[in-house]
Amino acid sequence: MEEIIKAEDLTFWYSDIDEESGGTENRVTVFEDLDLKIEKGSFTAILGHNGCGKSTLAKHFNAVLLPCGGKVYSAGYDTSEADRLFDIRRHVGMVFQNPDNQIVASVVEEDVAFALENMGVPQEEMRQRVDEALKAVNMYEYREHAPSQLSGGQKQRVAIAGIIAMRPDCIVLDEPTAMLDPVGRREVIKTIRRLNREEGITIVLITHYMDEAAKGDRVVVMDKGKVILDDTPQNVFSHVEMLKSVGLDVPQSTQLMYLMEQSGMPCDLHVINETACADFLYRLLTKTKLEVSLDNKA
């Protein structure tokens, strides 16, 4: 499958030059020789503890940060080519954590139109694309509201609409639900999943919520600037002990299975959501009941 984002031997450090000691450079290395490919149309979740470099990595995907070594290719362009900057950003959109700090205009539809205005899209087409984008995130009826009247989840969906109006191939979301309440979180995740399935937009979701990561096709776990696990959610979450050792949790269902394994009961560590968990327990219980009843008969 074709990849939309490709990081090759990516090395990045933050440097802070110490004036007092004669300009020596203190390098804080975030990644060294990191390789990662994101396939077109996929839903990838990047998981990691605070400070593991996941946000820094995301910022490389649309040339907000440029690699200190190695290359990042986004939508076919090398991110270090300065004159391709706007092409890259048009194809790879980015949604940030705080919805308040990414809404520019004081009317919802004007904000969604912001990127299109910057791109110089003609008026009639702009109207159509703004309406489409608002409908795609289910915020069309709020198009004339002021952002301050909306809830956190609604604001974040407006921010997403502002990105999809550009018709990007890929959206990178940097902890989009971290500041939202549970209802807002569900709304946002539902929207993201629908965009991925129905519109075929590649999604890269940076998160530290396991349940959100479990909704992806692929989970990449990062720790100290390195990719330590990269697989389907089922396989990733079955490494319960490894995840715990880097300060991460597993979805509650997996946690239950893990505890069952610990106490020597039959279990399946590849269970990552409530439905699968309930199914497994049902099968387990009916089986044991059968065995119990057979025992009784004997």
């Binding site: 907000v64 539809e109 205005e117 910057n118 008026q123 703004v130 952002p147 550009m166």
Partner: protein, 269 residues
């Protein structure tokens, strides 16, 4: 308490005044202000008042709202009128101790009060009937010709848009910080005025710091949405002017000429 701020508040509606092109409304408001300040006698001063009355009736806004908009300038009005009453030379009407109230003083201060009130009402009518975003758009378009002499018209409009957008956000944030400081024992509502002013410092500093952080994040988000200045930008909505806009402008100019005629006719009262 912070929720009561009415500056720049917009009351949506469909009246004629609401529908007039914002650019024309700005020009008409300017003409109105010129009327107020070029009127040199009471009969000339009546003209802008009549003009305002017509505009106000047409806007279908409630009188209560207008009175509310006056609230913040009441102290200003009182102070200027007191100063005017006492410190303008003329024939003494009433004498209290060493202070003279003169006929000229009364005349001028009455004039000032009417002017000030009309000024606030007139400009409030503009902001009440025009959404802030249309207002900034109008300003941007009006200032566009100045871009040729390097005047940053787009940047100015962008700054205004962002400022307007962040007013509610920052008010909310101020409220939160105030609550947080109160929870830590800050006394904001009691004490002498210098004490209260000092108590504001622990509110303003966090507010500033967080504004800078917001500004940085917003700039990043704007860049990620391909913002690169005013060049080659298109607009979701463009302002269109029609017959009614020209009619309203002509009306205001007609009133202005009446003021001039009355000024010339009666040089002094």
């Amino acid at each position: 308490m912070l929720k009561d701020i009415t500056i720049g508040q917009y009351f949506p509606g469909t009246s004629v005044v609401h529908r007039i092109d914002a650019r024309f409304k700005i020009v008409i408001t300017a003409v109105f202000i010129v009327m107020l300040f070029s009127a040199s006698n009471y009969s000339a001063l009546c003209v802008p008042l009549v003009f305002f009355a017509i505009a106000f009736m047409a806007s279908k806004l409630s009188a209560k709202l207008m009175i509310k908009s006056m609230k913040p300038i009441v102290p200003v009005i009182i102070i200027t009128s007191i100063l005017n009453i006492f410190f303008i030379d003329g024939v003494s009407v009433i004498k209290i101790w060493k202070l003279n109230i003169t006929d000229n003083g009364l005349y001028t201060s009455g004039f000032m009060i009417i002017r000030l009130i009309a000024l606030i009402c007139g400009s409030s009518l503009l902001t009440y009937t025009t959404s802030p975003i249309t207002l900034t758009d109008a300003l941007e378009q009006m200032l566009k010709p100045l871009a040729k002499i390097k005047f940053p018209a787009h940047e100015l409009a962008m700054m205004m848009t962002i400022a307007l957008r962040f007013i509610p956000t920052l008010i909310e944030e101020t409220d939160k910080i105030m609550q947080a400081q109160k929870a830590r024992g800050a006394e904001l509502d009691s004490g002498s005025i210098p004490q209260r002013a000092k108590a504001l410092v622990p509110i303003l500093i966090p507010l500033f710091v967080s504004s800078f952080r917001r500004a940085e994040e917003l700039a990043l988000a704007m860049e990620c949405r391909c913002y690169n200045g005013g060049e080659g930008r298109t607009k979701l909505k463009t302002l269109v002017s029609g017959g009614k806009d020209y009619a309203a402008l002509s009306l205001s100019i007609f009133f202005l000429s009446v003021v001039f005629i009355l000024d010339l006719g009666k040089v002094s009262f």
